[in-house]
Point group: C2
Amino acid sequence: MTTPARRGRPRSEGTDGRILRAAHELLTERGYDRFTIDEVAARATVAKTTLYRRWPTKDHLLVALVAKLQDDVEVTDTGDIRHDLTVYLTAVATGLDRMRRVGRDTAGQADRSAGVVAELVSAAARHPDVGDAVRGLFARRNALPLRLLDHARERGALSPGASSEVVFDQLAGALYYRLLITGAPIGAGYVEELVDQVLTGAATTPHPERI
Amino acid sequence: MTTPARRGRPRSEGTDGRILRAAHELLTERGYDRFTIDEVAARATVAKTTLYRRWPTKDHLLVALVAKLQDDVEVTDTGDIRHDLTVYLTAVATGLDRMRRVGRDTAGQADRSAGVVAELVSAAARHPDVGDAVRGLFARRNALPLRLLDHARERGALSPGASSEVVFDQLAGALYYRLLITGAPIGAGYVEELVDQVLTGAATTPHPERI
């Protein structure tokens, strides 16, 4: 996603941090449609050229911002896979819920729209480089819960035939599906039921490996 | 989603069908960005006013088109839940894959973008009435697989504690997550693994209800 600096001069962490904080503030205040890159530059007190060199469009800036928000979600391996998945997915769901409400006046009405996450999805579909950046972001980020699932399988808590990727798709997929498609709530109660269901399975006939 | 006709005159099925067929052709040929409502009207040989009265924006037309495409996917209850889910989800995945490639020149490159489905998601997030229409569309459509799961539970094939909605979220969610977020393939092999995983569960410790 990042364009290498033309002059080879390393950009300070401080500048990037200031830009992303300003972008986050504007996003939260107004929503994705209602601010410009120039306004981000002004609020961050950074030259527009610096900002455009780093993130050529608002979509690129959005990917960087989502990456930062994702990094705030911790993945902890306590050895209890049910607990660890529940804690992790509750944090993901809380983050998604916050992004769904960003920049919208939700007083007195249930806003079930997908907001910023939908913008991310559509930007990824429209611009190949943004798409690559988004997929790269999720690949890097999802490596953590995938490792958590791998460890659980290694210590015998997950079935040897269960693919970490498929299990993770079921978990994260259900949250994103409700956020982006059905608009159904993704609160703590839902996350617990989801984790339980993914771990125990829907069928009454046990898998042969389990007998 | 539909605006009631001003004059109370019922519109013929033929006109709607012609409009949707024209829209589908243009979408397939060029992609969502590269055609206008006026071009749909011209190709369908329908007055622009007729089209705008029925579907005021391209986003509204897209929802109607996706509804039509979804109705082409059959849900059959043979009494074998694993088989029925696999057939249904393979059809869904095939449809999603087709929409992902719509209007794009994929010769010589793997296009992993989400295309039309991403447009639908972002239109739903941006315009409250389109959002309501999309959620209504999926609620109506998903009632069929949800009933399939309910029947399977009633005849004892699914665990009494398994919620049809949560099970369905895992299945459909995984497909949409791969389509919209990670860009991973959703071919027949994946669908079979997914259905198997959702039915049997990831954990080695069986659920108490099963013993």
